[in-house]
Amino acid sequence: MEWFKRVTPGLEAQTKKELPDGLWIKCDRCGEILYKKELERNRMVCTGCAFHFRMDSMQYIALLADEGSFEEFNENLSSADPLHFKDSKKYTDRLEEAMAKTGLKEAVRTGECTLAGLPVVMAVMDFRFIGGSMGSVVGEKVSRAIDRAVETRRPLIILSASGGARMQEGALSLMQMAKTAAKLALLAEARIPFISILTDPTAGGTTASFSMLGDVIIAEPGAFIGFAGPRVIKQTIGQDLPEGFQRAEFVQEHGFVDMIVDRRQLKEQIERILVWFVGPARKKPRRAAPKKKSAPEAAETVASAPKRGKAAGEKSAKRTGSSAAKPQTRKNSTTKPASEA
C-alpha cells in the first residue's frame, strides 16, 4: 500500500468545512452562508433571498421601540403549576429550563415605549419560551397590557409568535383566549387602536383569539399563520397540502391579513398607521414634563376627539402649528361646527 501514500506533503486535508460556531449562519431557504453580525444588522433578514429568520422578544423590542424607551411591566408574573402536570417532564422543570434558556419569566414581555416618538403599549411574544405557548401568565400579561392601553389611552401593539395554547395548564389555557378577547372588547369600546403583528409562527389558540382581532393585522413575509397544524390537516384530509398553504401570503390572499411587511420596513409602516389613528408625534416635549404625563396626552388627541368636543378642539388648535397635524385639523373643522350648531 506504499504507493498509495502521498509522497510530497500536499494540501492539508480539511475534515469538513467547519463554520466557527455562532459566527456564520446558513440561510434556511437559499442556503447562503451569512455573516452573523451582518445578518443582525439586517434585522435577521437574509441578504440573499430576504428570508425572515425568527427573532426573539429582545430583538423585536429593539426593532420597534425607540432606543431605551421600553419600560417593561408585570415582568415578575410567572406560571404556577395548577394541574401538577407531568408528561415526559414535569411542567415545573420545563418552565425552569425555559427560564434558564431565555432569561425570561414567561413567553411574553409587556411594556410601555415610544415608537418613532409615539407612545404605545406593546406586548411581544417569545417563541423560545415553550413555543410561545399561551397559559395563564401570557393571558394575564396580555390582558393587563390591554388594560394599560385603555388607562393610558395609548395604542396597543401585540406581536404574536406562538404555537398556540399551552397544554400543561389544561382548560385554564383555553380560557385565556376568551379572557384576552373579552379585554379587547373593552379596548374597542374605549376606541383605542390595536395593531396585531403576526410573525412565524402564529398558530392555534393564539391565532383564534387576540392575534386575529387587530384593527390592523400585519404579517411578516412567509410567516406560518393558521389554526390547525399542517400535520393534523394532512392527516384529516389524507392528501398533500398545496404549496404555500397557511403562509402569510396565502392568508392575505384569503382576506385575513391587511398587509405583509418586510421586517426592515416594519417600524416605518407601523408609524404611518399610528399617525393616522392618533396624529403625529410631538417633536419635543413642550416642557420637561414627567414621562408618564406627556405620553397619554399625545396618544389621546384623535382617539377621544369626538367625545371631548370643545376641549379636544382647543388642543388641536394649539397643535396646528406642527406641520403634520393636517388630517386632524380637518377632522375637527368639520365635526366641531356640526356639534355646536
Partner: protein, 318 residues
C-alpha cells in the same frame, strides 16, 4: 354502534344479559326464577352504582362520546315547545355541524345554538362529526346578534371533538371566526347560558362557549385539546389518551374547582344515554332557573360581570 358498550360497563351489561336470558327461559319452560332474577337485578344495581360513583376522567370522556348520548337536537325536541332552525351564515354556506335557531323554552323565547353530532354514518358525515367549519361559528354569531337586537337570551350547547382541521376551514378563516365569536360573545348585551353536554374540545368548543353561566353535564369533559391530541404530542402516542385525560384534569369537578365552570348537572344513574328524557328535564329546569336569575340583571351590568368573570380565570404567581 347501537351495541357499543364502554369497557367499564361490560360487567353490568353481562348481568343484564343473564337476567334477560333467565326471563326468557322461565317464560318458555313455565318455571319461576323470580328469586334469582331479583338477586341479579340487585347485583346489577349495586355494580352500576359502584362503577358510576368511581368513574375515572377517561371513563367520563368515553361516556361523553357514548353513541346513544343525547345530542343538541334531542334536547331541543325534549325540552322546547317549539323550535325553528335557521340556516347559513349569509357569507358562504350553511354548516350542518352547528344547529342554530329560535324557539321557546318554558315560557321564554330564546335563541339556541349547538354543535350537532349524529348516529348513523350518512348523517354523521353530513354533520361532519360535530366539527364546525368557520360558517358554523359565523351562523352562530348571526343568531346571537339577532337575539341581542330583540333582547332574547342565548343558549349554547357545546358538544364537539374540535373545530374542523380542514383545508377549506383554514382558507376561510377558522381562527378568525372563533376569535370574532369570543369577542362578540363577551360583549353581547343579553344573557348567555352555556352547557357542555358531551365533548368540549378546545377552541372549537369555546367558539360558542363564552357566557354568563357555564354549566356542565356530569359525564362530559372540557379542555384545551382532546386527550388524544394531548397524548399524541406530549406522550408520543394517542393511545396514552387516558393518561392525558387525567393530567389535563378534564372532568367537571376539576373545572368547577378551577373556576372555569359554574355548575355541574347530575345525570340519571348509568349516564344520560340511559334516560334522555330525565336528562333533558334536568337540563331544562337548570336553564330556566339560570335564565330567570340573569334576566334580572341590567345588560350593561351583565356584560361587565361577564368580562370580569373571564378576566379572573387563570393561576399565576407574582
Amino acid at each position: 354502534m347501537k351495541n357499543y358498550v364502554p369497557e367499564f360497563e361490560k360487567p353490568i351489561v353481562e348481568i343484564e344479559r343473564r337476567i334477560a336470558e333467565l326471563r326468557e327461559y322461565s317464560a318458555s319452560k313455565d318455571l319461576s326464577f323470580s328469586r334469582e332474577i331479583e338477586r341479579l337485578e340487585e347485583k346489577a344495581r349495586q355494580l352500576r352504582q359502584e362503577v358510576y360513583s368511581n368513574l375515572t376522567r377517561w371513563q367520563r370522556v368515553q361516556l361523553a362520546r357514548h353513541p346513544n348520548r343525547p345530542y343538541t337536537l334531542d334536547y331541543v325536541r325534549l325540552m322546547m315547545s317549539d323550535f325553528t332552525e335557521f340556516h347559513g351564515d349569509r357569507l358562504f354556506a350553511d354548516d350542518p355541524a352547528v344547529v342554530a335557531g329560535i324557539g321557546t323554552l318554558g315560557a321564554i323565547s330564546v335563541a339556541l345554538i349547538g354543535h350537532q353530532k349524529a348516529r348513523d354514518t350518512r348523517e354523521k358525515i353530513r354533520r361532519n362529526f360535530g366539527m364546525p367549519n368557520p360558517e358554523g361559528y359565523r351562523k352562530a354569531l348571526r343568531l346571537m346578534k339577532l337575539a341581542a337586537r330583540f333582547s332574547r337570551p342565548v343558549l349554547c350547547l357545546v358538544d364537539t371533538p374540535g373545530a374542523y382541521p380542514g383545508l377549506g376551514a383554514e382558507e376561510r378563516g377558522q381562527a378568525e371566526a372563533i376569535a370574532r365569536n369570543l369577542l362578540e360573545m363577551a360583549r353581547l348585551p343579553v344573557p348567555i347560558v352555556v352547557v357542555i353536554i358531551g365533548d368540549g374540545a378546545s377552541g372549537g368548543a369555546l367558539g360558542i362557549g363564552v357566557g354568563d353561566r357555564i354549566l356542565m353535564l356530569e359525564n362530559s369533559w372540557y379542555s384545551v385539546i382532546s386527550p388524544e391530541g394531548c397524548a399524541a404530542i406530549l406522550y408520543r402516542d394517542s393511545a396514552n389518551a387516558h393518561i392525558a385525560a387525567e393530567s389535563m384534569k378534564v372532568a367537571p369537578e376539576d373545572l368547577l374547582e378551577m373556576g372555569v365552570i359554574d355548575r355541574i348537572l347530575r345525570e340519571p344513574e348509568g349516564g344520560a344515554h340511559n334516560d334522555h328524557a330525565a336528562t333533558a328535564a334536568t337540563l331544562k329546569a337548570a336553564l330556566l332557573e339560570e335564565m330567570e336569575k340573569l334576566a334580572a340583571i341590567p345588560s350593561e351590568e351583565l356584560v361587565r360581570r361577564r368580562i370580569d368573570k373571564f378576566a379572573r380565570m387563570g393561576v399565576w404567581t407574582e
